[in-house]
Symmetry: C2
Amino acid sequence: MDKNHDFLKPIHTPVPLIDPIRIRRNIRIMASRAEKPAVRFRPHFKTHQSAAIGEWFREAGVSGITVSSVAMARYFAEKGWCDITIAFPFNVREISALNLLDNLANIHILVDHPDTVATLAAGVTNQHRVFIKVDTGYHRTGIFWESRDEILTLARQIESSARLTFAGILTHAGHSYHCSGPKQVKAVFRETVGRMNRARDFLGENGFQNCKVSIGNTPGCSVADNFEGVDEIRPGNFVFYDLMQLSLGVCEEENLALALLCPVTGIYPDRNEIVVLGGAVHFSEEKLTDPDGHLISGYGMNLIQKGFGRLNREIRLIGLSQEHGIVQAPVEIIRKTRIGDLIGIIPVHSCLTADQFAGYLTTSGDRISRLNSVLARSDQLFSSPENSNSVSF
Amino acid sequence: MDKNHDFLKPIHTPVPLIDPIRIRRNIRIMASRAEKPAVRFRPHFKTHQSAAIGEWFREAGVSGITVSSVAMARYFAEKGWCDITIAFPFNVREISALNLLDNLANIHILVDHPDTVATLAAGVTNQHRVFIKVDTGYHRTGIFWESRDEILTLARQIESSARLTFAGILTHAGHSYHCSGPKQVKAVFRETVGRMNRARDFLGENGFQNCKVSIGNTPGCSVADNFEGVDEIRPGNFVFYDLMQLSLGVCEEENLALALLCPVTGIYPDRNEIVVLGGAVHFSEEKLTDPDGHLISGYGMNLIQKGFGRLNREIRLIGLSQEHGIVQAPVEIIRKTRIGDLIGIIPVHSCLTADQFAGYLTTSGDRISRLNSVLARSDQLFSSPENSNSVSF
């Protein structure tokens, strides 16, 4: 698979390979969708977490972004992004970390609990726009959309703080991922907008006339007929897409833009299997059911000159342990595979795969960096005791 | 849950908390098991990947270790470990990285393919003991134990190389994890030893009298009646154990030594749920079925003064998305939980959880470091082009 690609020669362990042409096209398509009618396109950067890929978004006119943690906000703030929403119900243990960003960026906050608002009101040192997380049916976080009085009470509590401004309502229709196909995804999207609009209208009747409606998620934003009733969209995964989105019918094969390149370490012709270095620590254990009813963790991706070629569903990642991946393939592929070859595999969930690396290799042979999530998660373990104690609770 | 633990105050995002008393006891128990009869105890360090925890093994008399990658071998070699087996079928793309360890440690290699042996024979710059991976029924990697001639041919190929010495046969009975309980685990272990002994005897009859038998895996090593017919054991997970081992019946609650501490970011009394910052990127997506038939990703762990207390199976991690965990708990627990509290959760698979961090917090309040896996996986992306080109293929 790697025979004609010189830039792959130095690769010795699994590496996420991305196709910049496809990524830029995915960005352009989503940016132009956000013009029907014009809504704020505030992409979620948790999927790529890369300053370099961020620049490709800037080229498409993006200026405001979404992230899921204070660490990610810091990373992008330091790269010049100054309009950032942290779309995770704020973790009050990170107020000091949030305050450290005061001079770098405007950070917008998400809340769904009065105690979080109270702690923010007492602890922030800068002005923040605050969104209320609304549960439109996913039942993970947020105030249920029908609990209108609860939403209103929280909005009033936010407005009563000198440093907080109520900005609007925000939802993530995660149940889109359980849909049967694009038609159902569209219906969920429409239903979500309807519920958000009813909550917005109620807030409007009660003094909050400028309540924005922010809606997330790649499936809905990829197929919605239009964005009537929406002020802002926050899709993220579309930058790479993956097998989950493909199986949901919200992207095409030619949108897939991230593959994990894995070295072949074993060949087992008796059972038509190859073993690669590339396991649960690289792919995550996200699986999906292929048309034959078998669970798979990835399909092969052919590489062409300077880009991705066609998905090869005959190359199937059927098993994962911590660092091994078991790949099933037709006998003719097994026969020409050699120890040390690289196999490109499209993961089921590209966000989780990318999160295991501190950078990407592009099909042009460039190497670009991204946030090292492990380091970002572990800073509190290695900051000096003085710094730790300066975090107030 | 964190009310009486001052050392937890500076914690602001999820952190793996470990109990050194339990870990040391787990190590002592396994070291003493390895004396019935005396076998080489070569623990797998892929679970903890920490120099500090390595020292606790040294105190128990351990001098040789097992790892699963060249990067991990380098990390421990630099910490003074000089007898290291890389128990992963060798990835020929890493021969240059292997050779860089020549002056640091004796590295023992695993193979199951003649092309790997040929590449090693042509490329290594130091002497290496080489094990043949044997498949005793797990069907992941290795030469099937009944393919005796194939094993013999590979042993002869190894011996024919000036720098390689055939050391023995090595297996990983990963199918132990599918057993119904300790009785079946013992039976699989006995069967595995029997198969390895038949392969060893055949090699002995054909000129390889000093063939060692190396057997891995925590379940088998935790419950085997004895180690007759075995030269070396390589368990790893037992250092922390986890819910998978507990549900398999090969450890007790008091052996569980790693919990992920997660901040509470949402409380949903209507559905008896709490949401924590702690999701698939922290826990991995490994799940198991609880006695009620529901899939869970973790149970709560009570903390006592300077250590772990009792497992609390009423605190159940029932859902994960990228960074959120949904925790179900009884109403009385929900009622006293506050935004910003920390909840300790025992993961299903401790290896994968630990791999997401660059260190641990101990219940004594110490902070200890471990290999940053993301960085180790990404070095090839950021080494200078000169270095990359020096890797030969």
